[in-house]
Amino acid sequence: MNKVKVLFFATMRTRAKRSSIDLELAENTTIAELKKTLIAKIPALEASLPSTLVSVNREFAFDEEMIPTNAEIALFPPVSGG
């Protein structure tokens, strides 16, 4: 199993009502599969999903990518800093 931490920021944190969650994923889980798992656990995330960005180990990540072991994952909306 692959233990990962998923962080939530901004709108995603508000929707998830928490700032992170620890998950155990099967090996070779993709980002797309992770999203499904998260929505199953936290249905409120679904509404934001079309505009959700995902990072893995602090780099932007995309649906078909595999999640490496012990990854630090984050979900957040398009950035609005500055």
């Binding site: 962080l7 920021f9 901004a10 709108t11 508000t14 505009s51 960005l53 990072s55 602090r58 780099e59 932007f60 995309f62 984050a74 957040f76 909306p77 398009p78 950035v79 609005s80 800093g81 500055g82």
Partner: protein
């Protein structure tokens, strides 16, 4: 990414942004010009429009609360600095600072400064590029508190692969 002995300051901080100190730190003996951008919290937004992909109507802002995914934001700010150096190899020093926390109107929230030997070297364009990129790829968000409610501000830029 070419190595550089020129100073690069990257900072996410709750403290006031000190322009004098930051510019001093990126001024070398060969420096003759600094182009600096600072952004402030607007208390009154007059135009209806779309900036950084964000649609808004005229409104008042009581304060903003900034949040960052700090380790990734620092990494991405460093990437913005690297991109600037790739595009403008005349740039000597770079400072990129984002202030976070609860920030009231008129308060500077962000600074991008680039120095070069001369002003006609692209140093203005480099600073402009820096703030544009920060607003695309650096994971920082603001929540806007208005007299009649609060709202997360969301951008619209979707980073591409290898970005």
């Amino acid at each position: 990414m070419k190595p550089s002995n020129f100073p690069t300051i990257i900072s996410i901080t709750e403290d006031e942004i000190d322009l004098n100190a930051l510019v001093e730190k990126i001024t070398l003996t060969s420096t003759g010009a600094a182009a600096i951008f600072t952004g402030m919290v607007r208390g009154k937004t007059k135009r209806t429009g779309h900036a950084q992909g964000i649609a808004y109507a005229p409104h008042e802002t009581t304060y903003l609360e900034y949040e960052a995914y700090i380790p990734m934001a620092e990494k991405k700010m460093r990437q913005v600095a690297d991109e600037i150096r790739e595009k403008w190899d005349v740039v000597e020093g770079i400072a990129i600072v984002q202030r976070i926390g609860k920030l009231y109107p008129r308060t500077p929230t962000v600074l991008i400064a680039c120095t070069a030997s001369h002003r006609d070297t692209g140093v203005f364009e480099a600073a402009r590029y820096g703030i544009d990129r920060l607003k695309e790829i650096v994971p920082i968000w603001k929540k806007e508190f208005m007299p009649d409610g609060e709202e997360w501000v969301e951008g619209e830029y979707i980073p591409k692969r290898e970005e």
